[in-house]
Symmetry: C2
Subunit: 136 residues, 2 copies
Amino acid sequence: MAKRTFNVERFFQALGDNTRLRLLNLIGEQELCVCYFVEILGHPQPKISRHLAYLRSAGIVSARREGKWMHYRIVTPPHIGAAQILRQTLDWLREDRAMQADRAKLSKACCSPEKFTSLEGAPLPTAITEVCCEAR
Amino acid sequence: MAKRTFNVERFFQALGDNTRLRLLNLIGEQELCVCYFVEILGHPQPKISRHLAYLRSAGIVSARREGKWMHYRIVTPPHIGAAQILRQTLDWLREDRAMQADRAKLSKACCSPEKFTSLEGAPLPTAITEVCCEAR
DNA sequence: CTAATATATGCGCATTGACGTATGTGTGGA
DNA sequence: TCCACACATACGTCAATGCGCATATATTAG
């Protein structure tokens, strides 16, 4: 399914879109299902889905199905250079105001899911579960 | 002329094209004039020029006129994150076979300009002059 | 089997990007 | 002043991309 040969052009092209950068920023070190992206970014679901497909075709994320939900996580690219660049990009995003706001909203959604009716029944992200909810 | 506000999307989009990566690889730490790109890459001059303009619009390179020649060099982006990513990208390119071949061809063109009639009279690159010709 | 939910994909449209070809612009030499 | 040279830009074309909207697919519940 996913492209076999890692493509440098495709890699950078995938990073050349703000929506996709926001998605990557939200995923971070965890595994997230699509409904969170839709809720946090406030964009129509097909748009989110297509951007995730783009990231997948570029070999930057992978998808795992769990029942009705699709979980996305960041994949370490086969090339060391690309891996370093991806990590550095994520570090860079972490310092951005708007990206921080996105992550804060995600934390809130995980800790207080009652305020996000669209997320009722949605599986919690992998790592955020502890990070976020143990802190309370 | 060049875009005032550094744009992250534009930055990555600029890196998402092999021709532009080859140009950046050729420039490296030096200053090169357009005729070298045309000669080494073997692409039509307008194509090279347009890609250089793209890189310039993305704030990745800057141009300096010296007589008839335009010298291009890599600019350090204003954002630390972007600067690191750009440097890492250049390091990554350095390890690529095809990119090494490009640089080798450039060295040859500088050391033996008599074999590259299109480069007669062209100003030598800034740093390659010593690096390449002192070694012989 | 049917319905509902979560997600993916098809379609039409507008924008951008890459390319070749032709032409414009700036500079120095005759 | 006119020409040659180095480079940039305009134009037309075609492919890729992004988007909204509608619809298809997969899975689970009933």
